[in-house]
């Protein structure tokens, strides 16, 4: 039996654990939290007022019975000695390790950001903070709700846009005169110009004020102003600033496998950690040049499951990031070889996203049943196939 140790019971870790056949692998998952969180749920809590319970499940309930779960925090990973130390003094050994502990949000990197989070909540970090933002927004009667970003590399590239669209609908439903302001570090309204051209008219239609080349430098919570690195400032009534992200903070030996933002350096195709053939990293904790998103973690988990069973699987870099407005949606589809393809906003794509939300827990628990359906979808919508024709 091969001993597989998976750090993190999020989307990537749980799918991988459930995909490995029990006849061949002894699988252990380590996670510091009791719950697995469906992170896009933050948006539905913050802007629709959904309940927190809807978007979390105990990790144990999502893992197959043969998968062992340890609830503890990782303090050190030694890839040379194949050893992992846990906070509870325990030490674990493995034949194969997969690091899937996600990205950390550093609310202390930007002056004023923690105060902002504590005052208003956000739609980004935790379900509880999303709940808090919903309460904050429901109290607003006028003024400016500002969504800004502190670093160009953050989870879910369309997240801020979804926040802008959904909050504008919330204020409309409330019948209040609140301006929604979206400030982005990019030259256009979306990292990709193709997508930017599609959503700019939609932002305009909803009177969402967009500021480009605005990377948050500091926040003055007394004066209620956000200052950008580029030298501009924005006034807010309520604001949420997506903080800089980083890879895992726990020690990893050898230290060269982390980059200067603590992300694990991996081969972008095989997900192997540089210099190792028995250690992988998947999901938001890596330096792979693709979007930090659930679909990446999911597809990388499938690749690693195949590789551990002796197949030469490779991750194509495929993204499928949903960008939704209240009634419409589109997917940002790209891979390592293709920039985002042109896509149209449609009601159907929003329904596809709603369908995905509804199937999420089942897709984590029974990935083998959902795999053919997802594969058919990814194949039919691959950038090579849809290309310039778009979707």
């Amino acid at each position: 039996m091969k001993k597989v140790l998976i750090l993190g019971g999020g989307g990537g870790g749980a799918i991988l654990a459930n995909l490995l056949p029990k006849e061949e692998f002894e699988v252990t998952v380590v996670d510091r939290d009791e719950y697995h969180v469906f992170q896009p749920g933050n948006l539905f809590i913050a802007f629709y007022g959904d309940s927190v319970e809807k978007y979390r499940r105990p990790i144990r309930s999502l893992l197959k019975p043969h998968v062992k779960l340890i609830r503890d925090e990782v303090t050190e990973v030694n890839l040379n000695d194949r050893k992992v130390k846990l906070k509870g003094d325990k030490s674990l050994e493995y034949d194969y390790i997969i690091i899937a502990t996600g990205a950390n949000l550093d609310f202390d990197a930007i002056e004023g950001n923690r105060e902002l989070l504590e005052s208003y909540g956000d739609f980004y970090s935790t379900l509880e903070n999303a709940e808090k933002l919903y309460k904050t927004l429901k109290e607003m009667r006028e003024g400016r709700f500002v969504i800004a970003i502190a670093d160009p590399i953050y989870k879910c590239p369309p997240g801020p846009h979804k926040g802008a669209f959904l909050s504008s609908t919330l204020f409309e439903r409330m019948g209040v005169d609140v301006d929604v302001v979206l400030a982005l570090p990019f030259p256009h309204a979306y990292p990709s110009k193709t997508i930017s051209d599609i959503i700019e008219p939609e932002l305009e239609k909803r009177n969402i004020e967009v500021h480009t080349f605005f990377t948050v430098d500091s926040i003055d919570v007394e004066k209620k102003r956000i200052y950008s690195l580029e030298g501009e400032e924005l006034e807010y009534t309520v604001a949420t600033v997506i903080p800089p992200h980083e890879g895992p903070r726990y020690k990893v030996e050898p230290s060269e496998v982390k980059d200067d933002s603590n992300y694990l350096k991996i081969d972008k195709y095989t997900c192997l950690i540089e210099g190792f053939d028995d250690a992988y990293a998947i999901g938001d904790c890596t330096n792979a040049p693709t979007s930090k998103s659930g679909v990446t973690a999911h597809l990388q988990a499938e690749v690693v499951a195949e590789r551990l069973q002796g197949f030469d699987a490779r991750y194509s870099g495929r993204t499928n990031c949903p960008l939704i407005t209240d009634g419409m949606g589109l997917f940002i589809i790209s891979d390592y070889d293709h920039p985002p393809i042109p896509v149209r906003l449609s009601r159907f794509k929003r329904l596809l996203e709603d369908l995905f939300v509804a199937t999420y827990w089942d897709a984590i628990r029974y990935p083998e049943l959902w795999q053919p359906i997802f594969h058919a979808y990814f194949e039919a919508t691959s950038p090579a196939k849809l290309g310039e024709r778009g979707w």
């Binding site: 160009p152 570090p185 990292p191 430098d217 690195l229 920039p339």
Partner: protein, 79 residues
């Protein structure tokens, strides 16, 4: 001491090079020089717009063998 900060954004798709420049700019101080290498053709207009917006100085913008080189003197950072 003014520093020369080198950013290699070759192979990155839009807006990778501008994002890499933004990350370098956060750490830079007035007087420093940032040199960016990029292969994404969108970088040329983007860096020109960025320099204008941020009040920095574009000392050099050249293209050779498909590689765009932008040299920026940092002058626009707030004290």
């Amino acid at each position: 001491m003014p520093e020369l900060i080198k950013v290699d954004a070759r192979g990155m798709a839009c807006p990778g090079p501008i994002s890499a420049l933004t990350r370098a700019y956060r750490k830079a101080k007035n007087g420093d020089t940032i040199e960016v290498l990029a292969t994404d053709p969108g970088f040329k207009p983007d860096v020109q717009a960025w320099v204008k917006r941020t009040n920095n100085e574009l000392i050099e913008l050249t293209e050779e063998g498909g590689v765009i080189k932008a040299v920026i003197k940092v002058t626009g950072k707030r004290g």
